[in-house]
């Protein structure tokens, strides 16, 4: 009988829990949503790291245009699947989507043109590479919300040390300072590789840095303007050889090093320099061994000059939303109050004027180098192909991993060319 009682008790508790759960199920605990309706609420889909960038804009938009903003935060790794799912179904749960620049070509048919927001004044205040990237098939489809690029972060305490200065000058014949060329970067990396420390990192797990070197060597990345695969040209080989030559001055296991690992190594004081996204300058933990000892400089230059690969996110309005007017109002707010993003934890913007407003302030020393890099004459965006993400995942990253492990660069590039040609067929 006690078992019966236990069963009855479980059944009662289970029934009550279900009743409560079902009663509350109507709207979920996250609050109501009006996605797809013509309400004054706008749902904005954003990668979790970018949410903070738009919080200030949302508050301002509420004041100015009376628009309430709900953010749908998703992790980066799942966002592409979610976007694909909703765009393909034709039912979207958001009115504005913040898209990584590499996804823009993939979703170009699912978002609507916002040409009216790209006034002449706006085009002058946005970095040229971003204006070019936002324009797909003759229409502007995304407004840059924030942008980033790799710059050089270096240890000022090591660079300003008298013994290091003298030792470096004696060995290399010029003053120790933030590097501006490939050769200088290599020399400094070699110099600081001693006593358990390394001069730099080499990231075999991500492709962007090598692509920046390709631009610096004077070639478009992977595909030329006519979509011909040029990955086996001299500039790609020169950039790859330079990239792999740095493995002697980098921590072991370069094939597995990605952004997070490289950032950790630098923040822990294991590397004297790193080529890294500009936002990292402001994200150095206060209790890190290198806190307060880091300087920033523009990305190094090759034979074609300084170049970086911009990393912008674009605000887009899906064709499927029924709330397009308010969605566009929000995008305009994001442009008008773009500098509010700089006050956020990520601390980035997309307008030149926003960066310039802050570049001389303490704590924003990375903005000057970032502006220089983004304005670099060889700076360019990734090729506008829907297959880009696939090319990166299946060809470029494996290529780099093999290269930093000692593979033959000529053979690897030739093989990569064939693979990319097959993907683009």
């Amino acid at each position: 009988m006690s078992t019966r009682k236990t069963i009855n008790r479980f059944a009662t508790i289970g029934g009550l829990c279900t009743a409560v759960a079902l009663a509350a199920t109507g709207c979920g605990a996250g609050g109501p949503t009006n996605s797809g309706s013509a309400a004054s609420t706008v749902n904005v889909l954003v990668e979790a790291g970018g949410h903070a960038e738009l919080t200030g804009v949302a508050e301002q938009c509420k004041k100015d245009a009376g628009i309430d903003v709900n953010f749908v935060e998703l992790p980066y790794d799942g966002m592409f699947n979610r976007l694909s799912s909703e765009f393909s179904s034709g039912n979207v749960s958001f009115d504005v989507a913040a898209l990584d620049s590499v996804w823009l070509p993939s979703f170009k048919d699912a978002v609507q043109p916002i040409d009216e927001l790209f006034t002449d004044e706006a085009k002058k205040d946005i970095f040229p590479a971003l204006v070019k990237e936002a324009n797909v098939d003759g229409h502007f489809i995304g407004m840059p919300a924030w942008t980033n690029a790799e710059i050089i972060l270096f240890r000022t305490d090591l660079f300003e040390d008298a013994a290091n200065k003298n030792g470096f000058k004696a060995k290399y014949g010029y003053d120790l300072a933030a590097p501006t060329t490939w050769q200088q970067y290599k020399d400094i990396s070699e110099f600081f590789t001693k006593d358990g420390m390394y001069g730099t990192d080499v990231k075999g797990g991500v492709e962007t840095e090598w692509l920046a070197h390709v631009l610096q060597a004077g070639s478009p990345m992977v595909l030329d303007e006519n979509n011909n695969v040029v990955i086996d040209n001299a500039a790609h080989k020169e950039a790859l050889d330079f990239y792999t030559s740095l493995t002697s001055y980098a921590p072991p296991g370069a094939a597995q090093v990605d952004w997070a690992a490289a950032q950790n190594l630098f923040n822990q004081g294991k590397t004297a320099m790193t080529r890294f996204w500009a936002h990292a300058y402001r994200q150095i933990p206060k209790d890190a061994p290198v806190a307060g000892k880091v300087g920033a400089a523009p990305m190094i230059g090759g034979s074609a000059g300084v170049a970086g690969v911009p990393g912008p996110w674009y605000l887009t309005v899906p064709k499927a939303t029924k709330n397009a007017d308010n969605a566009k109002k929000f995008v305009k707010c994001a442009y008008d109050y773009n500098s509010l993003g700089i006050e956020s934890s990520l601390g980035l913007a997309s307008r030149i004027s926003a960066f310039e407003k802050y570049q001389d302030k303490s704590g924003y020393e990375s903005f000057g180098p970032l502006i220089t890099t983004l304005n670099g004459k060889a700076t360019d965006t990734r090729p506008a192909t829907e297959k880009w993400q696939q090319i990166v995942d299946t060809v470029l990253v494996p290529l780099l991993q093999k290269a930093v492990a000692g593979g033959d660069s000529t053979a690897l590039l030739a093989d990569a060319k064939k693979q990319i040609q097959d993907l683009l067929k």
Binding site: T3, I7, A29, P75, Y76, D77, N81, S89
Partner: protein, 322 residues
């Protein structure tokens, strides 16, 4: 299984039966009797020592298994108390150099965390109840009416477990959206039930198999209907099994990520998605991520402790068949 079976008579029975081989040797003299007793004692001591060493070995293996399974969780727990720079130390450290609760403050203070907990609980409860309501009668029917279609059905249920969730996630999300259930816990519960139901049917089938049919026949002789016998006799016997199935169904929903990622937005986002949001394109907040993950494990640990007896009973149910 007969009553003479040593398994039913405990360790003493086993010990007394063991030396029978020496007892069968014909006793001849007092001396030989003394030798025999000594031999038996040595033999018994040898067995005792053998048992002790086996037990020690088993304890060592158990401890090793516990460390193997428990260490990742312990590491997560320790990381949740580390300072930001400690969480990314190279090489990593196990214990925090400085203990802090800051990660918990950050994680729990983040907007949407409380709502996500409520959503996770709603979704898991509904999904568990749905799974049990469907699995118990299905498993009972399959085990009691051994029809060819029943066998096909249970195999088909197993096959659905082999379909990768990502293959059905996107169509399922579209279907829920088209019936107006987008971004609701009920939609997510239904999706989670597709994961837990096949396993629940299989588990419940094995538990029902272990219940002798004589019990039901006795109940029907006493005037119970078939359903009455199920409710009054069979279900109390398999209550441990139901608890085990409920735990599995609950855990499947509580920890599920992919469907939650594809099917929830503002209203019904669950905690696994919120935990994943600490890894962004611009960095990974290890401290807050591990703190929230540690908090999220508490209900599951409590539930397991609460139902521990039922779970153990359920796991052994069906292990011994008479």
């Amino acid at each position: 299984m007969s009553l003479a079976d040593p398994r039913l008579q405990g360790p003493a029975a086993t010990e007394t039966t063991m030396p029978t081989s020496t007892v069968t040797s014909p006793p001849s003299t007092t001396a030989s009797n003394g030798n025999g007793a000594r031999r038996r004692r040595y033999h018994a001591e040898g067995l005792e020592a053998g048992k002790r060493s086996t037990r020690t070995l088993l304890w060592i293996l158990l401890a090793a298994a516990m460390i193997f399974y428990g260490f990742p969780f312990l590491y997560l727990l320790f990381t949740s108390f580390k300072t930001p720079i400690d969480t990314i130390a190279v090489p990593p450290t196990i214990l925090p150099r400085e203990w802090t609760l800051e990660n918990y403050t950050n994680a729990l203070g983040r907007s949407g965390v409380l709502a996500s907990f409520i959503n996770s609980a709603q979704t898991a409860i509904i999904s568990t109840v749905l799974s049990l309501v469907l699995a118990v009668p299905a498993a009972y029917g399959i085990t009691r009416y051994k029809t060819p279609s029943g066998r096909v059905f249970i195999m088909a249920a197993l096959v659905t477990r082999m379909v990768p969730p990502v293959a059905i996630g996107i169509p399922l999300a579209s279907m829920m959206s088209s019936v107006g259930l987008a971004d609701t816990p009920i939609a997510l519960s239904i999706a989670h039930t597709t994961i837990s139901l096949p396993l629940s049917i299989w588990l419940m089938s094995s538990f029902f198999e272990a219940v002798p049919q004589d019990l039901e026949e006795a109940a029907t002789v006493d005037g119970c209907s078939r359903l009455g016998a199920l409710w009054r006799v069979v279900i109390p016997v398999v209550s441990g099994g139901i608890a085990v199935t409920a735990i599995f169904a609950f855990l499947a929903s509580w920890n599920e990520f992919l469907f939650a990622l594809l099917m929830t937005a503002v209203r019904s986002q669950t905690t696994p998605v919120v935990i994943a949001n600490f890894q962004t394109q611009f960095g990974l907040d290890w401290g807050s991520m591990t703190a929230l993950a540690a908090v999220y494990s508490i209900p599951v640990i409590l539930l397991t402790l609460l139902l521990q007896r039922k779970i153990v009973a359920g796991m052994t149910l069906g292990a011994v068949k008479g």
